[in-house]
Subunit: 137 residues, 2 copies
């Protein structure tokens, strides 16, 4: 992080970043990224995916979402926003209507604190899984 190394282009890194941009609604894990790209990039290794996710995070281009069930998930959107984690299907959705300013205002922090980021995660059952549950009974 912020070391003197010069960044060099790599196809792998570009594809990984592109994939993250294209799957804003999935919030994929490292393994999900790997599975999605391994057919397209011959001989891609999981280690490379991890290294690039970490690098992109250090560069501030992506954001690591608080991990669920011990697995880190990634988001190409770096601004504060709200996530909904479905316990049943494991998907992480954005909650687009959330009012971030209102949330910030509800959290008064002393002036001696420095706030870098804010993560609000709702846990429950998503729309699909709720309907499945109702239908089953």
């Amino acid at each position: 992080m912020a070391d003197g190394k010069k960044l060099r282009y790599s196809q792998q890194r570009e594809r990984i970043y592109e994939y993250l941009l294209s799957s804003k609604e999935h919030h994929p894990s490292a393994e999900m990224v790997y599975d999605a790209l391994r057919s397209e990039i011959q001989g891609l290794s999981l280690g490379t995916v991890y290294r690039n996710l970490r690098l992109l995070e250090d560069l501030g281009k992506i954001r690591r979402v608080a991990s669920h069930q011990g697995i880190d998930r990634y988001d190409s959107c770096c601004s504060d926003h709200v996530h909904f984690f479905c316990q049943s299907c494991g998907y992480i959705e954005n909650v687009p209507k959330a009012d971030i300013e209102k949330i910030r205002a509800a959290v008064p922090l002393g002036s001696s604190y420095q706030l870098f980021k804010l993560d609000l995660t709702l846990t429950g059952l998503c729309s699909k899984c709720t309907i499945k549950e109702i239908t089953k009974e």
Copy 2:
């Protein structure tokens, strides 16, 4: 979780729960609990700490706070509230003045969703570490 087993008293479990109650402000990890109790409970094993933390969580007596840096932290308070995670010292504090109702109101969820819990984590530098940082420069 919710299996037919009958709970039996154990000194270890009692102490672990007591320790969590007494360290509401620390939000300790399993290892922190272990380190704090091993001198007091002869031959305590880390596995037992993990087993009991999980059991207490399943019983709804404690809450697992979203893990930071890959390590789970525990909280004896089970109601929704706001945490402040300090990147520098690793402490997790409560943000007592946070207005949970206001936060809930800022997050409109479709009626087809079921919300079980809400986790808001602020990340930054706590008061102490901010002052340290300023003093250093």
